[in-house]
Symmetry: C2
Amino acid sequence: MSILVVGSVAFDSIETPSGKREKILGGAATHFALAASYFTDVRVIGVVGEDFGPEHEGVLTRRKIDTRGIERADGKCFHWTGSYLNDLNSAETLQTDLNVFATFAPKIPAEFLDSEYLFLANIDPVLQARVRAQMPKVKMVCGDTMNYWIGSHLENLKKVLAELDVLLINDGEARMLSGESNALRAAEKVMAMGPKALVVKHGEYGATGYFSNKAFDGVAGLKWPFRAPALPLAEVVDPTGAGDSFAGGFYGYIASQSKLTPAVFRTAMFYGGVMGSLAVEQFGTERLAELDPKEIAERFQIFREISHLEA
Amino acid sequence: MSILVVGSVAFDSIETPSGKREKILGGAATHFALAASYFTDVRVIGVVGEDFGPEHEGVLTRRKIDTRGIERADGKCFHWTGSYLNDLNSAETLQTDLNVFATFAPKIPAEFLDSEYLFLANIDPVLQARVRAQMPKVKMVCGDTMNYWIGSHLENLKKVLAELDVLLINDGEARMLSGESNALRAAEKVMAMGPKALVVKHGEYGATGYFSNKAFDGVAGLKWPFRAPALPLAEVVDPTGAGDSFAGGFYGYIASQSKLTPAVFRTAMFYGGVMGSLAVEQFGTERLAELDPKEIAERFQIFREISHLEA
């Protein structure tokens, strides 16, 4: 079934201990869509500038991602410049040029309105809410956010959270959003704001899924959180987009299944880790643009081996 | 089969967000021995002062721990005073009174020489090496250490590492010992110093086991590390001794099995997490001194549920 994702389609200039790239294809919606495309149909809502060429669009369309919702605007693409030279676990932003993204007003093409799964990537919660309102009939809504929106746009963000099925954030964001340092109590406070489930990403330590008591197909009121591993890698070439790739693997797998059950949710968290671990092995979209599905199956098996008592 | 543990038997004065305790029973060997005692016979080598009374020794002997190796010296017990008020994940040391521990010279009673498993808790590596040398026939040697010995006594520590089967340390210690921030490369560098396997503890994120290619019963050259979860707890009452309790559960389970296989090593890492998660639910030794074995079995089942795709 189809996932509709709204978010940034952008260029990144990145420096990591493994090397440097100038103006390569990036953006949350791009990484998410590529990861999810190995599991289900994906449609993208975003905005690009005149510097977005057929070679960039081809990265998406070769994975059969529907790009009809990517608006072309006068000017240049959103361009992020960052460095991981000091710490591979946290990006240092050197420059952010919003460009065409500054006036982005998401419009949903009529042919996308039947999408059953909606993913609100990390953008202004006002835009997330606007997209959500245009899709009253979706079966499930997942979303992401970041410290900037939590800190400075909390009231707008809370309106989005109130309507989410699953929120995906990292440890720091969960602490900031809840004002609570204990992970379990933080999760409970965040879910009290709306999300029926919460996936907290721990970087190299994997992710934890929490479930509220609210109705949510077969996953309501699971007694214990679920912990999915991450794979220790000898070299992380470029962490950019790891979280979006996690979200794409997670949500893509859910959308590919007929029913959401605890087993599907758990497996989806594993696929999130799988796609995240593959994404960081090369710069930008290089790895996820050209995966052999066999590599995904093999990596999934490794995730099982590193975490299960009987492998 | 019997585990011999050498380490501190001490008093702790502890303040945490849950409360305050003065001069309660603690010490690495104490926490380790209590946790391991639910799996196998345990013998303790340590030193105590005149303030160590029958009520303290009773905590150990009620768990059938053999205390004949605990020497009584003139003076007072090792006494640590610490606070977790600022951060439950890292203790702030307010005072360390070594007392009788300052001149500790471990002596192994003749009746302990047939111990098959040796655990070198976190003490001066010179003492660890001295104990190791007196036990030439042990089947397996595990050890712990801390940043202080890595920073200031590295040459002595390296002599201990060269003879270890398994080293248990935390993330920061692994980085410090290896000079490497990547977890996988850090593990390889540490194992190149001697240990055939390495268990790195991540606090609330669980632990990772790494395996070298050296012969080590059935666990040699496992291709992938193994990740054991930790249980998200709504309240950590007192983290003191969590790492020693992990080690006790881990090593106690191994010593209780006839053969070391990959499945035994993995299960042992789960029992490490189980005993650590129980230990922190009350102050000091309160929880592990009085466990019902059923509680261990139930907690183990929860660890499986939170980490396995098919629970």
